[in-house]
């Protein structure tokens, strides 16, 4: 078998790993917006439990991928340098604080859980950044794109759920708009930073996913938010669509990032051997 210098797609992490980033990011983002949106009582409890369920689903998904699932506890052995260990610690804190918040209906505890959820989302971005073998992942800009899309997905999910019962508060919509803009800017920065390092097929996959992220995940939701602001009769359906679009496009981007754009470094020779006479 010949391995040429051309990079090929990594085969170590598949959709199960992608689901950890997909569900984990959205769950963390949901906890943040739920805790700071002024929700209380059963509504707060439901949102907190849903956010934790998403994070849990992501972790269970990746648990199915590891080779030795019965040793999963060993994931916590290297907090000094491994972002995967730090992610697991953050997840533990999210569950401890989040479950206490849901049990007691406590807003301060929910906010503490939300802060640890922010750490969790940040750790997920740094997990990818530390993967030096994958040029499309190892740039610092990806950590921020991953972080902003987590916030955006959580806000989108929150808005979509809120429209099922009522029109979301203006503060939530303003936060959602800012998150959408931040994610669009983070995508632009990220795309620029991988332009020279990532393999051509990786860039092609990223460009397709990025186009969807910008058109259907940024411009369309912002337009729908504006529509909702000025056309009260269609406001709820517009906001529902905006939330779903922000969530779905973030998920598709992360799926592509892990399973389609993760070409490895390949091999490169800065010099060819000089044989015989020169």
């Amino acid at each position: 078998m010949s391995y040429g210098p051309k990079p090929w797609h990594q085969s170590n992490w598949d959709f199960r790993a992608a689901l950890n980033f997909i569900f984990g990011g959205a769950g963390a983002g949901l906890l943040v917006v739920a805790a700071f949106s002024g929700l209380a009582g059963d509504a707060l409890r439901a949102e907190m439990l849903l956010g934790m369920a998403l994070i849990g689903a992501g972790l269970i998904s990746v648990w199915f991928e590891i080779g030795r699932p019965l040793r999963a506890i060993n994931v916590g052995f290297n907090p000094f340098t491994s972002w995967m260990t730090r992610e697991s610690f953050a997840a533990g804190a999210v569950f401890a604080l989040g479950l206490a918040a849901a049990w007691l209906g406590s807003q301060p505890l929910a906010q503490a859980a939300a802060l640890t959820a922010l750490v969790f989302a940040y750790c997920q971005g740094r997990i990818l950044q530390a993967a030096k073998g994958i040029p499309a992942w190892r740039v610092p800009a990806l950590a921020w794109l991953n972080f902003t899309t987590a916030l955006t997905e959580g806000a989108g999910l929150f808005v979509a759920l809120a429209t099922l019962f009522d029109t979301p508060a203006k503060g939530v919509l303003a936060y959602f708009s800012l998150a959408l803009i931040a994610r669009g800017l983070a995508w632009s920065t990220y795309r620029g930073s991988v332009a020279k390092s990532a393999a051509r097929p990786a860039l092609a996959a990223l460009d397709r996913a990025g186009k969807i992220l910008i058109q259907f995940g940024t411009i369309a939701p912002l337009a729908l938010l504006l529509l909702g602001l000025f056309a009260a009769d269609v406001a709820r359906i517009a906001l529902l669509l905006a939330g779903v679009a922000a969530l779905a496009t973030g998920w598709q981007f992360k799926f592509v990032l892990i399973t389609r754009a993760a070409y490895n470094q390949g091999f490169a020779l800065p010099h060819l051997p000089v044989r015989g006479t020169r």
Partner: protein, 217 residues
């Protein structure tokens, strides 16, 4: 302080894959797993095509990204520079595999054998500990340790030298202590122009490639 390093003289390699075969034999790796392999690279376009054979594997980096990301501390680095994996600690998350820029790590989820059913030799050497965990080149650390315990010199005495180096038919590969200025590898690097792969990533690989003799002053 001893720091083991590998040197491959690319001018000598003929791509015979004897090192690959000897590694498989010495380490009993399953089908599809090649801790030592030789790339067959064609560079350029007709008629200016050049061919190079490049032995690759774990580079035993100074600053190994695989060790930094490992959540279980299964991947460690010895004082002599050899990067090891503790199969009893590894959870098989493959994070090290995506962190390695040299595609040196493997994970085999199920037992597999060259002819389906295990041969008597495969049966005897099968190690269930290696299933579903990360594996990679160890620089034949067991041979090095056993050899040095007997007072032998790795890279000089075959009994203490990695199997791939012993098997190389063209003396492409050399192994030795890079901290010793009189060692075989230090001498080779002093006399020849060399590079390390993906050096720009800051991993500090301990695998050097010689590509030409040094320009005369």
């Amino acid at each position: 302080m001893t720091r083991w390093a590998m040197v491959a003289d690319l001018r000598r390699c003929v791509g015979c894959q004897t090192c690959t075969a000897s590694c498989k034999h010495a380490n009993a790796t399953p089908p599809g797993v090649q801790w030592r392999r030789v790339l067959d690279l064609e560079v350029g376009e007709y008629p200016a095509v050049k061919r190079a054979f490049v032995p690759v594997g774990c580079m035993h980096c100074d600053d190994p990204p695989c060790m930094e990301v490992c959540p279980s501390t299964a991947t460690r680095k010895r004082p002599d520079g050899i990067v090891t994996i503790d199969y009893d600690l590894c959870i098989g998350c493959s994070y090290c595999a995506v962190a390695c820029p040299y595609q040196a790590r493997y994970k085999t989820d199920r037992a597999s054998f060259a002819y389906g059913e295990p041969t008597p030799a495969e049966e005897q050497r099968f190690d269930a500990k290696r299933l579903a965990v990360a594996t990679k080149c160890t620089f034949c650390v067991d041979r090095i340790d056993a050899g040095t315990a007997k007072g032998l010199t790795p890279g000089i005495d075959p009994e203490a030298t990695p199997a791939c180096v012993n098997a190389c038919i063209t003396q492409t590969m050399s192994f030795g202590d890079i901290e010793d200025p009189h060692s075989n590898v230090s001498q080779l690097l002093a006399e020849n122009q060399h590079f390390r792969m993906h050096e720009e990533l800051g991993t500090g690989p301990r695998f050097y490639y010689i590509w030409d003799k040094k320009e005369e002053a």
